[in-house]
Structure formats: structure tokens, C-alpha cells
Amino acid sequence: MFFTKKSLRLLGVLAGAALAGTVLAGCGGQQAGSSDTIKIGANFEMTGNVANYGQATLDGLNLAIEEINAAGGINGKKLEVISADNKSEAAEAVNAATKLISDDNVKVIVGPAVTANVIAESQVATDAKIPVIAPDATSPDVTVENGQVKPFIFRSCFIDPQQGSVMAKFASENLKAKTAVVYVDNSSDYSKSLGKVFKEQFEKAGGQVVMEQAFLAKDQDFKATLTSIKTANADVLFVPAYYEEVGKIVKQARELGITSPILGTDGWDDSKVADIAGTEALNNTYFSTHYSDKDESVKPFIDAFTKKYGHAPNVFAALGYDAGKMLAEAIKNANSDDPEKIRDAIEGIKDLKVGTGIITMDAKTHNPIKQAVILQNKDGDRVMIAKIMPE
């Protein structure tokens, strides 16, 4: 097993080196003409098992850059996106970043989409002092390592724990809940960290978490635990988990007669939840996510995207678009194509309007402070009922 993996990686490095050679050879001639364009590297999962995420994000990014160029570019310069495929693998993400930095001479990199690949890439980018914007990676350790912020790594989406804080605020302010039960997936860091933050924030707001329960991904039967959750008789039930289990939990909770609101996070954002739970059981449930396609302010983006690609954008496309807008703003403020100046400008972004909302970069963590939208499931439809800023 190890042997194969190692030899594969070796093969990857060799292939990368060979590729680098050819690209380098073809690059020399263009150097002179590049002064009126600014090159942006796009390191994405275009093939492999999360290709859907990478491709959608890249589509969104391309749309943003196209709009900026159509409006005259930035300070007279056009932006040029150079994309590289990381095949949905961490080792390939490093190769792709190396290629973009040393061969294509990009000033900034956008991507990859998933957390593990961004983390793999971050050392190469940091060594070369090239800023990175991760559009969709929501895990906290993308930008922070051992309590230290990584100077060149940023993201343009909110992080997992922020949703916990948003939902706590929603529960206590909008739903006027005084008591809550937290029910997390013990096999997922995403779920556990959200549960922890929810509890802290909900209790800070004067509420009380009266019971904490856990399950494991792939469980089928939740009735036993839900029976004891029912005895707690809390105002809300918070289930930060992924759609497969969420569907079953909501279904079984309603069957046992738990009628209180059930709250969740962006793991709920999938039509499977309704397939499993049924639309009736799903009434009176709420979850936080990045944006709503029913939101008026998102409409221009959705229309432009649909016109260009012939289908409606998903959440990844929206986040890719946001990353593009944020990057353009930073280059404009830096008034230079020097990577370090761009880095400083990204850190200073404040109250910038992007496709899905308004973002301000937190210089201490390199996470944007960004509103989340709360959607309510209602008779098979999703209604946007609030936009909430995390604490």
C-alpha cells in the first residue's frame, strides 16, 4: 500500500517536472508582453472525486474576472486566469501550485476548493510569498496553524464555527428559545466544533443547553436517543450534521412527536434531506448557509451566471465568484501587481460587497466576517427568513 502511494507520488513529481520543463521553455517569449495583464493562478479540482466542487468554483471565478475585465480591468490592466488541475489530490495540489508560481509567474492563487488541498498547497505559496485565497474551504485550520495565522493564506467564505454562533443567535433572538438540546455527529470534526460553538454562544445569550447527545455517522436508528431528547422538552434541537443522517433524524424525531424547531447548518443544504425526511416532517426546521437563490441582492449574479453557463449556479459557483470580486478589490487597493502588496490589501478588505453578501477580512484570523443566511423549510420550499452576522 505504502509502496504504491509512494511510487505514485514519485510519478506525479516526475510528470510535474516534465511538464514544468515544457512550460518553462514556452514561457520565455511572453515575458515582455505581460506587463499590461495581471496573472491569477486558479488551482482547482477539475478532475477526480470532488471535481464538481472545483469546476463550479472555477466557473464562478471566471465569471467575476470576465465582468471586471469587461468593465475596463483594474487600473488599466486586465486580469488573466491561468488554471491548473490538481486532480482532487493533495500532492497534485502542491504540484499545480508550484507550476503556477514558478512557470506561469502568477501574482496570486485562488483555490483549491477543499480544505485538505489548500492546506497542502499553503507551504509552497508561503515560501514563494504568493497570497492564496481559498473560496470554499470552511475548516478553521486552513488559515491558522498552531494558533498562528498563516500570513499568505486567506479565505473568502465563513468558517464552520461561525455557523454555530449564527444559529445560536438565531435561536435566542428570532425564535426566543430559552433551552436547547445539542445533538452532534461524534465522528465528524465539523459537527463537534459547531456543537461546541453553539453551546458557548447560546449560553452567553442567556439560554441554556439542557442536554447534549451524540451519534455516529452511518447510524440508522436514532429513536432511542431521540426519546430521551424528547424528555428534555427543550425549545429547539440543534443538529449540525450532514444530510444523510439529518434526514433520518428529522423523520424519526417527528415520528416520536418532537414538534419543536430543529436547527442545522450548511450540511443540510441538499435535496436528500427532503427525500428522506419527507416535506411534512421538515416543516419548522431552519438551517444556515452561504446564500439563498431567492435573495434579491444575489439576483444579478444568478442572472449573469445562468446567461453565461446555461444553468443556475450552486453554492460553490457563488463562492468562486465572491473570491474573484474580493481579489479584484485587493489588487485595486494595492495599486500594484506586487504579491506582497496584494497580500496587505487582502488583509485590509472592509465592507466589500460581493455576490453573496458583504465581507470584511479579519486580519487576526484571515477569515472574512460575513453574514450567513437562514433558510426555513416550509412545505417543500425554502424561505429565506434572516441574514445574520456572526459575533
Binding site: 451519534f215 432511542a224 433520518k248
Partner: protein, 295 residues
């Protein structure tokens, strides 16, 4: 809800879950009773049964009872086929070889199904209305009643077959001693075949019921229930039919109580702790008799 009522609700949850274990455990125990084989592929037969039921409902548009029958018959035949192809050639081989073959069959079924039906979990269609009976806060829903009802009916039919038919008599004879039974004129290959058929059919029913109960099926869904049913069979005394039912229900109730009053993360640990305890304290199980092996 007060404590006593919560306890009763957990009993309801546990007995429904336990009935499923019992249906699977019956197949384990019948097969073990006759050819002394722990058929590790049994959990996967249950998965195949669930998928056949799923396709009968979604593709052929059948109602729940016809779908159950289609799944029961097809899966029963599959059980016979597995026995013919995988176990029959090894009738006189050491038991370890057959056991390893069973594990092979298990993987074969899992990954072949994964190839054909894709690893993504499927959502089982809603085949019955959500009715629930509420007795003073104690909730029993339609699916739980369906599970209990079908399990009960199957138990009655199975008892009848085993106790009062010639085939049943032959099965019991074969479980005492296959070779002697053969000398008495019983076609033991045929009896083994029928045993696999009945055992697999019961597992198929369990599979379809689980699909209806939890609304979601996937190609690896058989692994855990298969192991749990094995624990149930051992707990009741492997090879003994009433033992499998009692073992299954005890296991279901213990799991419900552990998840309800302690934490659901300890549930599986509790189930396997029971296995270890039974093997240490009373290896023959609740209904097992201590028979001395004559040398």
C-alpha cells in the same frame, strides 16, 4: 415525559429494532443448526433483499405486500444459488475453509451490488401513511406495528414449517446428524438448500422492513446488522430457533436502553460486550443445553 414512560417508549423502540435482528438471526441460526456454518454473507443477503424490494416498489410500481413477496422469493432463490455455488463444493472441506468462503461471498455481494446500484444511499419510497398511535404519550407508529406484525406472522409460519411438515421434520433430523439423516432416506442436499432458501427469505423481509422503517438503504447496510444478528443468535443459543428470536429482541432492547439512558456512542460497544460475556459465562447461550461431546 416521566422516567417510567420513557422506559416504556425505549422498550417499544427496542422491540421494533430487535424484531429486525431476530429475522436476520433466524437465518444465521437455521444455517448453523444444519451445516455448522456461520454464514457471514447473511447480512449481505439482507441488503440484496432490501434492494430487490426497493426496485420492486420504484421500478415495477408494486405495493408493499407484493414487493415483500417478490423480494422474499428472489432472495430465497439467491440464497439457494449461493449455497450451490459457494458452499456445496466444500461440503467435506474443513469448517475453516467454508467460513473463509462465506467471508468471500460477503465481499462479493457487497461490491458487486456497489457496482450495479452505485454506493450512494437510496431513499426508500414512502409506501405507507404516517399513522401513529399515541397511548398517553407513548408513541407507536405504523411502521413499528408493521414490523412487529410481519415478524410475528413469519414466526408462526416458520414454527409450523419446522414442527409440523415433513420438510421441517427432515430439517430437524439433519440438524442432529446430517449423515444419519441421509441414511434414513432424507435427501440432505435438498434440505440444506431449503434451509438456505428460508433463511435468506427471512433476511429479505428484514431488509425491506428496514428500508421502510429508516427510508434509506445502501450496499454496505448489511455489515452491522449482520454482526448484530450474529450476536443475537449466539446470545439465544446458536442453532436454536426460539433462541434467535429472544436473543434478537433482548439485543434490540439493550441497545435502545443504552442509547437512551447512557449514550448512543456506547450502543455498539454494549452489543459486542454482550457477545463477549455470553462466550465467557455461557457459551451455549440462553437456550443452549450443555451437551458433552463424545469422543
Amino acid at each position: 415525559m416521566e422516567l417510567g414512560q420513557q422506559f416504556l417508549q425505549q422498550m417499544v423502540n427496542g422491540i421494533s429494532l430487535g424484531s429486525i435482528y431476530a429475522l436476520i438471526a433466524l437465518g444465521y441460526t437455521m444455517i448453523y443448526g444444519i451445516i455448522k456454518l456461520i454464514n457471514f454473507a447473511h447480512g449481505d443477503i439482507y441488503m440484496v433483499g432490501a434492494y430487490i424490494g426497493f426496485f420492486a416498489i420504484t421500478q415495477a410500481g408494486l405495493g408493499i405486500v407484493p414487493a415483500l413477496l417478490v423480494s422474499l422469493v428472489t432472495t430465497g432463490l439467491l440464497g439457494m444459488l449461493v449455497e450451490k455455488l459457494a458452499y456445496k463444493p466444500l461440503r467435506h472441506a474443513p469448517r475453516l475453509s467454508v467460513l473463509i468462503t462465506a467471508i468471500g461471498v460477503s465481499f462479493f455481494l457487497e461490491y458487486t451490488s456497489m457496482y450495479f446500484v452505485s454506493p450512494t444511499p437510496r431513499t426508500f419510497p414512502q409506501v405507507m401513511d404516517n399513522v401513529a398511535v399515541n397511548i398517553g404519550g407513548l408513541v407507536i407508529n405504523g411502521q413499528q406495528m408493521l414490523i412487529l406484525g410481519i415478524t410475528f406472522v413469519l414466526m408462526v409460519i416458520l414454527t409450523y414449517i419446522v414442527k409440523f411438515t415433513n420438510t421441517g421434520k427432515a430439517m430437524r433430523a439433519a440438524s442432529f446428524d446430517v449423515e444419519t439423516a441421509q441414511l434414513m432416506g432424507i435427501n440432505s442436499d435438498r434440505i440444506i438448500s431449503i434451509t438456505f432458501c428460508i433463511g435468506s427469505a427471512l433476511a429479505a423481509v428484514a431488509g425491506v422492513l428496514v428500508g421502510i422503517y429508516y427510508n434509506s438503504i445502501d450496499p454496505l447496510m448489511g455489515i452491522m446488522p449482520g454482526l448484530k444478528a450474529f450476536v443475537a443468535a449466539v446470545l439465544g443459543g446458536i442453532g436454536i430457533l426460539p433462541g434467535a428470536v429472544v436473543g434478537g429482541i433482548i439485543l434490540g432492547v439493550v441497545e435502545a436502553l443504552v442509547s437512551g439512558f447512557i449514550s448512543s456512542t456506547f450502543r455498539d460497544a454494549a452489543a459486542f460486550a454482550i457477545l463477549i460475556l455470553v462466550l465467557l459465562v455461557r457459551p451455549t447461550g440462553i437456550f443452549g443445553k450443555n451437551t458433552k461431546e463424545k469422543v
